[in-house]
């Protein structure tokens, strides 16, 4: 079927302002938006620029705004968009470098703020540290995060103030805060108990809707808020 793909374009070496280009292409219902972009780049305009790698929703490279909502382009199939007009734009709230490529550095800066790594300074045992299946299950959901930024860039609080660490960073903190083997939960809670921490979340649920890994992000943020209030890390 014929599909109209309207794409946000901006070449910093040529354009003063962004504009949109529309391409008419033949597509199958099972085509991914990424397939369409690859086809457009290879057929009509080699200058069209976007990031991609694994093409099946795991590497997190191709987060973008498709018909007004954040998706990974490789996980957005034409049949699921219920439209023959597709508008593709870069993630919101980030500086556009070129076309669909945004500056990810501030996103990773926020990520690094929450101590997103395992901390346990006691000498490790000769074998594994034990952890029950229930303790492991406690933080299972937030281990799925691929740092694609679809959540953070769908959050109105982040749009309003990009100093807010954002849902992705809180998800990363949650993954360690509730890991029974980790010892720095209190320190992470202190970091998030800040004017640019968890209280910027107004439970709008955009992040949860946007997450291509189906992480219950709003719930995870709620659990971090509760832990700050109660000091209970279980």
């Amino acid at each position: 079927m014929e599909v109209k793909v309207k794409v946000f374009r901006f070449d910093p070496e040529k354009d003063k302002k962004p504009h949109y280009e529309t391409y008419k292409i033949e597509s199958e219902p099972t085509d991914r938006v990424l397939d369409m972009l690859e086809f457009i780049k290879g057929t009509f305009d080699g200058t069209l620029s976007f990031r991609r790698s694994c093409a099946h929703g795991i590497c997190g490279s191709d987060g973008m705004r498709i018909n007004g909502r954040n998706y990974l382009a490789c996980k957005a199939l034409l049949k699921d968009l219920h439209s023959r007009s597709i508008t593709v734009e870069p993630l919101m709230g980030m500086r556009v470098i070129k076309d669909l490529i945004v500056d990810m550095e501030p996103f990773f800066d926020n990520y690094r703020k929450v101590l997103p790594y395992f901390i346990n300074e006691e000498p490790a045992p000769p074998q594994e540290r034990l952890q029950s299946p229930e303790q492991r299950e406690r933080f299972d959901d937030t281990t799925k995060c691929i740092l694609c930024a679809c959540c953070t860039t769908s959050c109105p609080s982040f749009w309003a103030n990009d100093q807010y660490v954002g849902p992705a960073a809180i998800v990363s903190a949650h993954r360690f805060i509730f890991d029974s083997r980790d010892q720095a939960g209190a320190e992470r809670l202190r970091i998030l108990n800040d004017q640019f921490g968890v209280y910027r979340c107004h439970t709008i649920f955009n992040c949860t809707i946007a997450c291509p890994r189906e992480i219950e992000i709003t719930q995870a943020i709620g659990e971090v808020k509760r832990a700050i209030a109660t000091g209970n890390l279980e």
Binding site: E38, G46, C54, I58, C59, S61, Q127, E128, P133, D179
Partner: protein, 597 residues
């Protein structure tokens, strides 16, 4: 042009690159260069597990792991290296756990393990639980955990830097040349040690599980600098890719009891591997699938089969096989258990197939998956450049880009993640140790000359060739003629086509003449790498007149240990021609014998 100086430069930020960086940075000034943000690396897509004989659930030994790997390699793996990897495996997996990796757990709180193809109890011959897993996203967790530890240890990253050349001075590594994607600027990294950890080249074939980024850059770069490539004819086709898309469905599905079913509704692997059936080694299963489809027994006569993990099907065949739980009770699964052990697989099937694997079988076909060959190294990840295993000072390789060789003619599932962490670690240790005792080689007068020449040629290309057409001709040719089954006649044709495509590639005009994120220019360069590699793969495969592991020939259907129990080495010579040589396989304890599963 910007210049940098580091003791150690690591190229690639997947599992092997990050492991190497973690270790090298402990004692040496280290930088990691990656064309992707590290967490985008292909390691993240690995699903089923990392192999190590922890014996958490049942008796297991590194010796058994060693033998299984030797057998899996169709006796082409070097046995000293395999033994080293399998014995180091146990400590390496505990180390990942100590880094915080969230493995799934047994009831006692230990690392959970599942069965995987080719991994057996060497006494009974039955599958053994050896694959240490974190649900079905083990690679994701390894990649995330190692990246997190690198952040903790302040490892220096140059993200979205495309390395395009290796500098060799006085026969030793002297650094690399890279393009910063953000600016298009050329950077020269002067280094004492260079570690390549750039992954494989599955994008040579049409149906593949491999990422767009998997264009064999490290292999292409080093072979152009005179480093030979080892065993390039050996490439793995994984049995279960999603029909038409090639997206991987982990072998862990079969580990949990899933079975392959043909168009007649039969579990056909019983006929090919009576003992372990659906958990035979990958080359064996992929070939069986191919033969079933050739015989018209695909689903509805089409080029796909079913992978069935519906609980009633799993339970039926588990009962027939007499499969038991650890406590001796019959093995029975529920839909919820399938969901909790294989959440990503369920998600892939729903998203890309519109199929719910708990209630419907999944259409699958073999998919190009893993590069067994690559840059030759010894077991300490030092690159060796001839049939005498002479070490090239300062150059290291680890992970899929390297050929140690631990996988020989066919890799066992879970051994790729193991390869990354074990040889990544030793690459980092050795690179730092060497750097701490060596001086910098002087840089060439114009270090980026060769890199600039390559990109000047791409920028000024004249003609009307199209990148997608050149790429798809390559992929179709390689799939049809240098894929799962090969013949001398077909490969001769393929070689001519690939050489013709390498000429056509020079006539793809570049639309984007900008500097900032010129992905079109990089994509054309990457396609050049794939074409060059396709040529080396085909030339190496054409010469090997036998069938072994992933290299199966209709015209030479038997393994030939008398003439071919040896590694291929392929040199790209100054005039562009390919010269082949050979070196012996290291055999220590296990004499080659017939391979039966």
């Amino acid at each position: 042009m910007k210049k940098h100086q580091f003791d150690v430069v690591v190229v690639g930020a997947g599992g092997a690159g990050l492991m190497s960086a973690l270790y090298a940075s402990k004692t040496a000034n280290t930088a990691v260069l990656s064309k992707l943000y590290p967490t985008r690396s292909h390691t993240g897509t690995a699903q089923g597990g990392v192999g190590a004989a922890l014996g958490n659930d049942e008796e297991d030994h590194p010796e058994w792991h060693t033998f299984d790997t030797v057998k899996g390699s169709d006796y082409l793996g070097d046995q000293d290296a395999i033994e080293f990897m399998c014995f180091e495996a146990v400590q390496a997996v505990y180390e990942l756990e100590h880094y915080g990796l969230p493995f799934s757990r047994t009831a006692e709180g230990k690392i959970a393990q599942r069965p995987f193809g080719g991994h057996t109890n060497n006494v009974t011959g039955k599958p053994v639980r050896r694959a240490c897993y974190a649900a079905d996203r083990t690679g994701h967790m390894i990649l995330q955990t190692l990246y997190q530890q690198c952040i903790k240890n302040n490892v220096k990253f140059f993200d979205e830097f495309q390395v395009v050349d290796l500098l060799v001075v006085n026969g030793a590594a002297a650094g690399v040349v890279a393009i910063e994607l953000l600016t298009g600027e050329i950077h020269v990294f002067h280094a004492k040690s260079v570690v390549f950890a750039t992954g494989g080249h599955g994008r040579v074939w049409d149906i593949t599980s491999n990422a767009y980024a998997y264009t064999g850059d490290g292999i292409a770069i080093t072979m152009r600098k005179g480093v030979p490539m080892e065993d390039m004819e050996f490439f793995q086709f994984h049995p279960t890719g999603i029909y038409k898309l090639g997206i991987l469905i982990t072998e862990g599905v079969r580990g949990e009891g899933g079975v392959l079913i043909n168009g007649l509704g039969e579990r056909f692997m019983e006929n090919y591997a009576p003992k372990v059936k659906d958990l035979a080694s990958r080359d064996v299963i992929s070939r069986a699938m191919y033969l079933e489809m050739q015989a018209g027994r695909g689903i509805n006569g089409q080029r796909y089969l079913y992978l069935d993990v519906r609980p009633e099907v799993v339970n039926k065949y588990a009962a027939l096989d007499g499969r038991k739980n650890l406590d001796g009770s019959p093995y029975i699964v529920t839909g919820e258990q399938i969901l909790s052990k294989l959440p990503d697989i369920v998600d892939f099937a729903r998203t890309y197939l519109g199929v719910d694997p708990v209630t419907q079988p999944m259409p699958v076909q073999p998919t190009a998956h893993y590069t067994m060959g690559g840059i030759p190294t010894n077991k300490f990840a030092e690159v060796v450049i001839d049939d005498q295993n002479t070490v090239m000072p300062g150059l290291y390789a680890a992970g899929e880009v390297a050929c140690v060789s631990v996988h020989g003619a066919n890799r066992l599932g879970t051994n790729s993640l193991l390869d990354l962490i074990v040889f990544g670690k030793f690459a980092g240790l050795r690179a730092a140790e060497y750097a701490n005792g060596a001086d910098f080689q002087p840089l060439p007068a114009d270090p980026s000359e060769y890199a600039r020449a390559q990109f000047d040629a791409i920028r000024s290309a004249q003609g009307s060739e199209n990148i997608l057409q050149v790429a798809s001709t390559m992929k179709n040719t390689m799939t049809d003629l240098v894929g799962m089954f090969r013949t001398g006649e077909g490969m001769t044709r393929a070689l001519a086509t690939i050489q013709e495509l390498r000429e056509r590639h020079k006539h793809i005009p570049l639309t984007d003449q900008g500097k900032i994120f010129n992905t079109e220019m990089i994509n054309i360069w990457e396609l050049g790498n794939l074409l060059h590699i396709a040529e080396v793969v085909t030339a190496s495969a054409l010469e090997r007149t036998e069938s072994r592991g992933g290299h199966a020939r209709d015209d030479y259907p038997k393994r030939d240990d008398v003439n071919w129990l040896k590694h291929t080495l392929a040199w790209v010579q100054e005039d562009g021609s390919i010269r082949l040589g050979y070196k012996p396989v290291v055999i220590t304890k296990y004499q080659p014998k017939e391979r039966v599963y």
